[in-house]
């Protein structure tokens, strides 16, 4: 009897890339609901716009590169990029801004570098930074969280949709009426104006730790993140690295100089720290690859976030921190190779 020849091992993994990506998407669902709850339906529109353009961009690039588009679409990685971008955007963002970010992320940052697995930069963050520098006005328009005591003008679903499609607010409203500075902006402006951290914390947008509303989204992101850890979709090294890198200096500075330094709780729950630690920095393709390397990579991102928040002119520094550390990945990978069993440690270092 004749048989087909095959190569050892004759078993394959039961996991696949698509299920990994779906797990990441599923882990974002609670936070997405919280986002809509606090900041209105704009998130859903942003997600739709980002999703449509990311998928269209991916399909187009696969076609241009002469590969079957369906294989790229079946791995859901474009949707993860779109979702992470949607989380980075204010709920009132005109569609062309979102589309620019999604297309840049998928077409330039991902496919021009060779597609899934070959991109050096995190596509979502590359896309975000491009729109941050090209449309700075739009990306600072964060609506205030809908919490009873904050003086805030709500937009209806229709009004939000109209804004997303046209960039125009209803006639009676101005940007000042619907938007509020983010907690990180409040802190930065306050500190620049020589106010102490304690005084700034009296601002109603700031909650128990970070920003009101933001704290809750942060909690749900953390739940999703821990679920990914339990599911082994991500490993602990990067989240812990980001945490230590960000909260370490924050803790030290609040002990040395409590007047001008927001504490670790604020740093953790304001801005994008948690989503960065569990969802953005953990993108395996653009992260360092050995365990030790991943911890260092996370540490670098956390520390850079803290530096940018403290000294930079941007209120939050997650996207920049991630992109800068993306550039450091080849060096980190080279310097953190584990010692191969049977080699002395010197041998492994020198190669």
């Amino acid at each position: 009897m004749r048989f087909e020849r095959s190569e050892a091992p004759y078993w394959s993994a039961e996991t696949n890339v698509a299920s990994l990506m779906l797990q990441v998407l599923a882990a974002l669902v609670p936070a997405a609901i919280a986002h809509v709850w606090f900041f209105g339906p704009g998130f859903v529109f942003n997600l739709l716009v980002a999703g449509i353009f990311a998928i269209a961009g991916e399909a187009f690039m696969m076609w241009v590169r002469g590969r079957p588009p369906e294989t790229a679409l079946a791995d859901y990685s474009a949707l993860v990029t779109a979702a992470l971008l949607a989380f980075a955007l204010p709920s009132l963002t005109p569609w062309w801004v979102t589309a620019t970010g999604a297309l840049f992320g998928v077409v330039v940052a991902k496919h021009l570098y060779g597609g899934l697995g070959f991109n050096i930069f995190n596509p979502a963050m590359a896309g975000y930074v491009v729109i941050l520098v090209t449309f700075p006005k739009h990306l600072n328009l964060w609506v205030a969280p809908s919490m009873g005591d904050i003086d805030y003008q709500h937009l209806t679903i229709i009004q939000t949709l109209v804004f997303t499609l046209t960039g125009n607010l209803p006639d009676a409203l101005t940007f000042d009426a619907v938007s509020r500075a983010t907690p990180l902006d409040v802190m930065k402006t306050g500190l620049n104006n020589m106010a102490t951290a304690t005084e700034i914390r009296a601002n109603p947008v700031i909650g128990d730790f970070g920003g009101r509303g933001w704290e809750w989204i942060g909690n749900f992101l953390a739940i999703g993140g821990f679920w990914l850890l339990i599911k082994k979709a991500i490993r602990w090294q990067i989240p812990v690295g980001v945490g230590v890198g960000l909260l370490g200096p924050a803790t030290i500075m609040v002990l040395i100089d409590p007047g001008t330094s927001p504490g670790p709780g604020f740093h953790l729950f304001a801005g994008a720290s948690i989503i960065c630690a569990f969802f953005i920095a953990t993108d395996p393709v653009s992260a360092a690859t050995s365990n030790r390397g991943r911890f260092i990579y996370g540490l670098g991102i956390g520390f850079l976030i803290w530096c940018i928040r403290r000294w930079g002119s941007y209120a939050d520094g997650v996207a920049f921190a991630v992109l800068i550390m993306n550039m450091a990945v080849p060096a980190i990978d080279y310097l953190t190779r584990p010692r191969i069993v049977g080699h002395s440690s010197e041998e492994s270092r020198d190669g």
Partner: protein, 506 residues
């Protein structure tokens, strides 16, 4: 009884795999009858093929030497039953995935007549050197699947400071259970073989190492050890993690010593022998039975009733499968060895050989061919027992970057297959690494060939120069001697030259 003690070392990575062993261990080892034809490849070990010492038409007896070892790493081949040599020809073999290699074919006469053997001597009265030579004659090779000639391995260990003999009863690869049932049924023979090996090696400690998922084998070995009351032999349990049965991995687990890269276990004072090999040593030294049969697991969802069998070396796999109830409809691949490291063969005409610890008939594999790009998730690095970074090796093997491949330890890869089993992109990493290793070897061979050619060329040039110099010197000497000989001699030479010219023209 020596209490089972736990391991000291720790293995990096590894996998807990579904064992699939229970299906084949349900019944005792069954004896496969002698087939009508035996096919005995002359290459059943890692070294040079053996040289046939019988001719076509000759009658041979069971246990008779039919091919003798050749070269440093040789091993003899014996007739597994009595009969007539009908051919020495190329036949499909498993080590070439079903392609052909030279084999000696015996038409069995069914009498199974054994060679008259010399009476068994007490091995303890022999010197270790004599014992080693005797083991060489038994055709014994490592039965765990690597088929390294046992005598040579022992001889090498004798030249080193070997402290520990480690008997490998781990059998970590899924589906395979031949060592497990062997330990259950032939524990006394295994331990007796261990004593022979200890005498040959002159070592004072032997660890018998078994994976924790084989309680029956552990209990049986414990009983026999208690009866034996040999304090030098210690039973050790190791956790059930693949690939803890790999030679270097086992040494690391048991002694907490790492075998240096490119080295041997003897570099850290250990020698590892499979439990089946120990039993074969017992059979040869105490019963005069060379290695002519072995226990093999016939299993997989492609066979009707999985079972462990003892069959003569040379029995066609086809007949062995029939003995296990034949194939099921699902069968697509036939693998000789386990699912992680075995060899896929194209035909079941291949014979069972000394290396065949398992015959695995399986259905089509899922995900085959659905390869996606690597997303650098690093799961492969987390399970690699040698602590390599398969994701980086994959990158460099795609780029064919030999320097980087060496630097990242490609040659340290033990091809255990763990990385494949966790890869979400279903990249055939192990197969790629095997190919890359082959390419590196080829390149090294190519370099060596080029170097040899260069040396030959230079030697030739030098020779030509030297010859020219010698000729010049000779000419100068002749001129000199002609001068000193005077006019009479010159006239004589000229006359001779003229004569020669005339001869030519006529």
């Amino acid at each position: 009884m020596s209490a089972p003690t736990y391991d000291l070392g720790k293995l990096h990575g590894g996998l807990r795999l579904q064992s699939h062993k229970a299906v084949s261990t349900a019944q005792p080892i069954r004896e496969v009858p002698v087939p009508s034809q035996l096919i005995l490849p002359i290459e059943q070990h890692v070294g040079q093929p053996a040289q046939p010492v019988v001719g076509v038409g000759e009658r041979v007896l069971k246990g008779q030497l039919i091919a003798e070892p050749d070269g440093e790493l040789g091993a003899p081949v014996h007739a597994s039953s009595s009969g007539t040599i009908v051919a020495i020809e190329r036949w499909p073999v498993s080590r070439r995935n079903g392609d052909k290699a030279p084999c000696i074919v015996i038409e069995c006469d069914g009498k199974d007549e054994a060679l008259q053997t010399t009476p068994v001597e007490d091995y303890t009265s022999r010197t270790p050197a004599e014992l080693l030579l005797r083991i060489l004659d038994g055709g014994i090779v490592g039965l765990g699947g690597a088929v390294f000639p046992t005598a040579q391995k022992l001889m090498q260990a004798r030249t080193c400071d070997t402290e520990f003999l480690i008997l490998n009863g781990v059998e970590c690869e899924p589906y395979i259970s031949c060592d497990d049932v062997l330990m259950r049924e032939r524990a006394p023979e295994i331990l007796s073989g261990a004593q022979v090996l200890m005498h040959a090696l002159q070592v004072e400690t032997c660890f018998v190492v078994v994976e924790s998922d084989k309680p029956e084998a552990i209990a049986r070995l414990g009983e026999v050890l208690a009866e034996l009351n040999d304090k030098r032999i210690v039973l050790k349990l190791v956790p059930t993690i693949y690939p803890s049965g790999g030679e270097d991995q086992l040494v690391q687990l048991v002694t907490n010593r790492e075998v240096p890269s490119g080295g041997l276990p003897t570099d850290v004072g250990c020698i590892v022998q499979n439990v089946g090999t120990a039993a074969a040593v017992h059979d040869w030294i105490l019963r005069n039975e060379p290695l002519i049969s072995r226990v093999t697991t016939i299993t997989g969802d492609g066979v009707a009733s999985p079972v462990n069998i003892r069959a003569r070396i040379g029995t066609p796999i086809e007949e062995v499968i029939q003995f296990a109830g034949g194939y099921t409809d699902k069968v697509r691949h036939l693998i000789i060895g386990g699912p992680m490291t075995g060899k896929s063969v194209t035909t079941d005409e291949v014979p069972l050989v000394k290396a065949s610890n398992c015959v695995l008939a399986v259905s089509a594999r899922p995900f085959a061919g659905n390869e996606l790009p690597c997303i650098r998730c690093g799961d492969c690095a987390a399970v690699c027992p040698v602590q390599l970074l398969p994701q980086q090796l994959h990158w460099y093997s795609c780029a064919d970057d030999e320097v980087k491949l060496r630097e990242f330890g490609l040659t340290d890869c033990i091809e255990c297959g763990c990385c494949d089993l966790v890869c979400p992109s279903h990249i055939p990493l192990t197969a790629d690494f095997r190919t890359a290793k082959g390419r590196i070897r080829e390149m090294a061979d190519e370099k060596a060939r080029a170097e040899r050619a260069r040396q030959r060329f230079e030697a030739r040039n030098q020779r030509l120069v030297q010859e020219q110099e010698e000729r010049d010197a000779e000419l100068a000497r002749q001129k000199e001697s002609a001068k000193s000989a005077g006019p009479a001699a010159i006239a004589e030479i000229l006359k001779r030259k003229q004569q020669a010219q005339e001869d030519d023209s006529t």
